[in-house]
C-alpha cells in the first residue's frame, strides 16, 4: 500500500530567509489588527456588555423578520437587533442593556414575550445584568493574562528564558491577529471567544514547543552549526509532523464548523483562524527565527575552536564576535 505523504522526506526549505519578509509582514498585520480593534472594535456579546438575548423559532416554520422588527420596535426598548440564526425559522433577538438596573432587564423580556405572543417557541433566553457582565469581562481578561504568565513560567523552567520570551512574543502575536480577525468579521465576542483564545494560546504554544524541543536537541548535538542553519534543519525535521497534525485539527474543526450548529459557530471559526492559519505560521516564521534576535546560540560560527556552550550560557560570551544574529539591526 502506498502511503500518503503530504510533505516529502528531507525537505530543505530555507525558512530563515523568510524572516526578512515575515517579520515586517507580521509587524504590519499586528499594527493593522490593533488599529482595527480601535476603529471597528469587537462585537461584544451580552456576556460582556450586558443585555438580553432571545432565540425564537417561528411555529409556522418561516420567521418574518420584517414584522417582528416592527413589532419589537414599538416597545421602546432602545436598540433591538434581529438576525437569522441557523434555519429560516430561527431568529436571534438582541436587546441592549436597559437603563434602570437589574430589574429593568427582566421587564424587557416580559415585554418581548407579550409582543411576540405564542406564535414562536422560546428556545433560549439569556439576561445578563450590568454587574455580571463587567465581572465576566474582568475575569476573562484576567484569565488570558494568567494563562500567558503560567505558560511563560513553565517554559522558562523547561527551556532557557529566550525560548520562553520568544514563545510569548509569538503568542501575543497570535492573539493580536486573532483579535483583528474578530474585529474584521465582527464575530460575537463572548465567553466562548475567551475559551477560543485560550485554546489558540495552548495549541499555538504546543506547536512552538515541539519545534523548540527540536531546536534544543539540535543545539546540543551540533555545536558548530550556524544558528540559521540549525533552525532551518529543526523546522524541516518537524515540518511533516506540523502539517499532518494541523490537517487533522483542521478536519476536526471543519466538522464542528459544518455540523456543530450556530451556537458554536463563532467559536470554531475563531479557532480555525487562530490555530490553523496563524498558529502554524507563527511557530515556523516568527517563534523560531526570533530566537536569533533573542541571542540563542550567539557566538556560534562555523570555525570556532572550542564549541560554544550554547545551552548552558545563553548570554553571548563575546558580543563583539560577528554572528548572523548581529548582522541585522
Amino acid at each position: 500500500m502506498r502511503l500518503l505523504r503530504i510533505v516529502p522526506d528531507d525537505t530543505k526549505f530555507d525558512f530563515m530567509r523568510f524572516r526578512r519578509i515575515s517579520f515586517p509582514v507580521s509587524a504590519a498585520l499586528s499594527i493593522l489588527a490593533i488599529v482595527l480593534y480601535f476603529t471597528h472594535g469587537l462585537n461584544f456579546g451580552i456576556d460582556f456588555e450586558g443585555g438580553t438575548l432571545i432565540e425564537v423559532q417561528a411555529k409556522s416554520g418561516q420567521a418574518n423578520l420584517q414584522t417582528m422588527r416592527s413589532t419589537l420596535g414599538t416597545l421602546g426598548l432602545g436598540e433591538v437587533q434581529l438576525q437569522q440564526f441557523g434555519g429560516p425559522s430561527d431568529v436571534l433577538i438582541r436587546i441592549a442593556q436597559q437603563p434602570g438596573g437589574e430589574a429593568a432587564q427582566q421587564a424587557a423580556v416580559e415585554k418581548v414575550r407579550g409582543a411576540l405572543g405564542s406564535d414562536v417557541e422560546y428556545r433560549r433566553i439569556e439576561v445578563v445584568g450590568p454587574r455580571v457582565s463587567g465581572e465576566l469581562l474582568y475575569k476573562g481578561i484576567l484569565g488570558l493574562f494568567a494563562a500567558i504568565a503560567a505558560i511563560l513560567v513553565y517554559l522558562w523552567f523547561r527551556f532557557e528564558w529566550q525560548f520562553a520570551l520568544g514563545a510569548m512574543i509569538a503568542n501575543v502575536h497570535d492573539l493580536v491577529l486573532t483579535l483583528g480577525f474578530m474585529s474584521v468579521t465582527q464575530i460575537d465576542f463572548d465567553l466562548t471567544s475567551i475559551a477560543a483564545l485560550l485554546t489558540i494560546l495552548g495549541y499555538s504554544l504546543n506547536d512552538t514547543v515541539v519545534i523548540y524541543d527540536r531546536i534544543r536537541e539540535m543545539l546540543r548535538r551540533y555545536k558548530r552549526l550556524s544558528m540559521p542553519d540549525l533552525l532551518n534543519i529543526s523546522i524541516n525535521a518537524t515540518l511533516s509532523r506540523s502539517i499532518v497534525t494541523h490537517v487533522t485539527v483542521a478536519m476536526s474543526l471543519l466538522a464542528l464548523l459544518l455540523f456543530g450548529g450556530p451556537a458554536i459557530h463563532s467559536f470554531t471559526a475563531t479557532m480555525m483562524f487562530g490555530v490553523v492559519l496563524v498558529g502554524t505560521y507563527t511557530s515556523v516564521f516568527i517563534a523560531s527565527p526570533i530566537l536569533i534576535y533573542l541571542g540563542v546560540g550567539t557566538g556560534r560560527t562555523e570555525h570556532v575552536e572550542t564549541p560554544a556552550p550554547a545551552e548552558e550560557s545563553p548570554e553571548p560570551p563575546k558580543p563583539s564576535r560577528a554572528s548572523p544574529a548581529k548582522a541585522r539591526p
Binding site: 502511503l3 430589574a103 433566553i125 503560567a150 495552548g202 487533522t248
Partner: protein, 534 residues
C-alpha cells in the same frame, strides 16, 4: 522502550478497560441505571445547554440588608434610652449611621456607655472587630455606625438563611434535581434542568414574601393622603391591585398584628361558594391566639393582608376567627394562588434577592444541540480516522485504536467525576481527537526520521518513541495549563469545555505513553519487522 513485562502490559490494558467501562451507565436509560448498585451509577450529567433548563444567579440586595440593619439599630437605641429613662431628640438614620442627641448634658456619659453595649464583638469575640462603631461627637450627639465587617457578616448570614428557603420554594414547584449553591459572598446560583416555565421560577424566587396581617386605617382617607402627600405617622400608604392591574391606595397601620412567620401551612384551594381560587392558611398556636384576639376586637373593620408591601386583599372582618385558619381571596388565578401558597409555606427570605443573570435554554434547542454535536463528532472522527490510515497505514490503524480508546476513556472519566457535558464540552472532545492524533503523529514522524538516518527498524521504533515522548509531554503541559486556567475562570458551558479538554489531554498522554507503545511493541515482537511500514 519496547519491552513490557507481562504484569505491566496487563495493568495498562486493565486500566484502559476499567476507565472505558465507567462510561457504560451513560448508554442505559436513567431508570435502568437506578436499579444498579450504587457504585455503578456514576454517569455524565448533561449541561443545561443540552437538556434545557434555567440558570439563575441571584444577588442579595445589599442596600436592603443595610437598611434593615440600620432600622434595627435605631429601634435598639430607642428601646435602650427609653428603658434607661434618658431623654433624647432627633433619633434618625443619616447615610450609614444612626444619630441621636441626648437632651441633658449630664445624661450623655451614661447614654454613651449604655449604647456602647450594642456594639458586640464579631466572630466569637477574638480579633477585636465589633458590629458597631459608637462615637460621642460632643454636645450630647452620639453616632452609631455599622462597620463594613458587620455588613459582610450580615450578608453571609442572609445568604445562609436564604439557601434553604430557596430550596423549599424550588422543590415546591415540583422541579427535579435543582442545584442551589452559594457563589461568592452575596450570591446564590440556582440551576434547574428541564423547566417548562422559567418565568414561574423567576416569580417565585424574586419575591421576599414577607407576609403581614395589618389593620386598615379607616379614620383617615387614603385619597387625601395621595393628593395631599401627607401620610399619618402611624400609617403606611400601600396599594391594592385589582384584576385589571388598576391600583387602589389604602392606608394601613404600621403595627403588624400577625406576621407570616406564624404560618404553619398554606394551600391553594377553591372557595366553596364562589369557586374562585383562594389560598387557605393555618397559624401556629401563637399566631392563632393573636389572630383570634385581633379579629375579636375589630369585627366590622377591614384588615389588610400585605405581601412585600403590596396589599393582596383587604376584607372586612365579619366575625372573630378563632380556629387559627383562614383563607385569602385576592383575584387569584389557579397559578398565582399556587405560587402564593408556595411562598407562604417556604417562608420569607431574610432580604430581597435580585436576579442578575438568567440563562434559559428550551428543551427543543438542547435536543438540537445534542444531535448537532453528535453529527459533528462522527464526521470529525471519520475524517481523522481515514486520514490517519491513509498517511500511516497499519500504524495509522494503531493510532485510530488509541484515539478510540481515548474518547471512551474521556467519557469514562467524565462519568466517574459526574461531570457536566456541555456543547462546548463536545467541541473539546472533538478537539481532543486532534491532540491524541498529534501524539501518534509525533512518534511516527520521529520513527520515519530515525529510519532515514539509517537505523534498523526495531531500533528506529525504539528511538522514535523515546525521543518523541519528551516532546509530547512538554507540548501537552502547555495546553493543559490553558485548560486549567479556563476551568478556574470559566462558568457554565465554558467550564465544560475546559473539563473535557483537560481530561482529554490526560487520557491522550496515558494512551501515548502506554497503550500505543504496548500495541506497537506487541506487533514488533510478533512480526519481527525488517522495515517499518510507515
Amino acid at each position: 522502550m519496547l519491552y513490557f513485562s507481562r504484569w505491566k502490559a496487563l495493568a495498562i490494558v486493565g486500566i484502559a478497560v476499567l476507565v472505558c467501562l465507567c462510561a457504560v451507565p451513560n448508554f442505559f436509560p436513567a431508570s435502568t441505571v437506578a436499579k444498579w448498585p450504587e457504585w455503578a451509577q456514576r454517569r455524565m450529567v448533561l449541561g443545561l445547554d443540552l437538556q434545557g433548563g434555567s440558570h439563575l444567579l441571584l444577588e442579595v440586595d445589599a442596600k436592603d440588608v443595610k437598611q434593615q440593619k440600620l432600622d434595627q439599630v435605631r429601634d435598639d437605641v430607642r428601646r435602650i434610652l427609653r428603658d434607661a429613662k434618658i431623654g433624647y431628640t432627633g433619633l434618625a438614620i443619616r447615610g450609614d449611621t444612626v444619630e441621636v442627641r441626648i437632651r441633658e448634658g449630664s445624661d450623655a456619659q451614661a447614654a454613651y456607655s449604655k449604647l456602647r453595649e450594642l456594639a458586640v464583638p464579631l466572630g466569637g469575640g477574638l480579633g477585636g472587630q465589633r458590629s458597631l462603631e459608637v462615637n460621642d461627637a460632643g454636645n450630647g450627639l452620639i453616632r452609631l455606625t455599622v462597620t463594613p465587617e458587620a455588613m459582610t457578616e450580615r450578608l453571609r448570614q442572609v445568604v445562609e438563611q436564604a439557601v434553604p428557603i430557596i430550596e423549599k420554594r424550588v422543590n415546591a414547584l415540583g422541579l427535579v434535581e435543582p442545584t442551589i449553591q452559594r457563589e461568592g459572598a452575596d450570591r446564590i446560583l440556582v440551576q434547574v434542568p428541564g423547566l417548562g416555565d422559567p418565568e414561574a421560577l423567576l416569580r417565585v424566587l424574586g419575591k421576599t414574601a414577607k407576609m403581614e396581617f395589618r389593620l386598615v386605617d379607616t379614620s383617615n382617607s387614603a385619597e387625601d393622603a395621595v393628593s395631599g402627600g401627607r401620610v399619618p405617622p402611624d400609617d403606611d400608604l400601600l396599594y391594592e391591585a385589582n384584576r385589571t392591574g388598576q391600583k387602589t391606595p389604602i392606608l394601613v397601620q404600621k403595627q403588624v398584628m400577625v406576621s407570616g412567620s406564624d404560618l404553619t401551612d398554606a394551600q391553594a384551594t377553591f372557595d366553596q361558594r364562589t369557586g374562585e381560587p383562594v389560598v387557605s392558611f393555618k397559624f401556629n398556636s401563637n399566631g392563632a391566639r393573636r389572630f383570634a384576639q385581633v379579629t375579636q376586637e375589630n369585627v366590622g373593620r377591614p384588615f389588610a393582608i400585605v405581601l412585600d408591601n403590596d396589599v393582596i386583599s383587604a376584607p372586612v372582618i365579619r366575625e372573630p376567627i378563632m380556629g387559627g385558619q383562614g383563607q385569602i381571596s385576592g383575584n387569584f388565578t389557579v397559578e398565582s394562588a399556587n405560587e402564593l401558597a408556595i411562598l407562604l409555606r417556604a417562608g420569607a427570605l431574610p432580604a430581597k434577592l435580585t436576579p442578575i443573570e438568567q440563562r434559559v435554554v428550551g428543551p427543543g434547542l438542547g435536543q438540537d444541540s445534542i444531535e448537532k454535536g453528535k453529527l459533528a463528532s462522527y464526521a470529525g472522527a471519520a475524517l481523522v480516522v481515514i486520514f490517519m490510515f491513509a498517511t500511516y497505514g497499519l500504524f495509522g490503524l494503531f493510532a485510530n485504536i488509541a484515539v478510540a480508546v481515548n474518547v471512551a476513556m474521556i467519557f469514562g472519566v467524565l462519568s466517574l467525576l459526574n461531570a457536566t457535558l456541555t456543547l462546548p464540552g463536545i467541541a473539546g472532545i472533538v478537539l481532543t481527537v486532534g491532540i491524541a492524533v498529534d501524539s501518534n503523529v509525533l512518534i511516527y514522524e520521529r520513527i520515519r526520521e530515525e529510519v532515514r538516518s539509517g537505523r534498523s527498524a526495531i531500533s528506529a521504533i525504539d528511538a522514535g518513541f523515546s525521543r518523541a515522548l519528551a516532546t509530547i509531554l512538554d507540548s501537552n503541559i502547555t495546553t493543559f495549563i490553558a485548560a486549567a486556567v479556563l476551568f478556574f475562570i470559566g462558568t457554565g458551558p465554558v467550564r465544560g469545555f475546559a473539563v473535557t479538554l483537560g481530561i482529554g489531554i490526560a487520557t491522550s498522554l496515558f494512551t501515548a505513553f502506554t497503550l500505543t507503545r504496548l500495541i506497537v511493541a506487541t506487533w514488533v515482537q510478533w512480526q519481527r519487522p525488517k522495515v517499518v511500514p510507515i
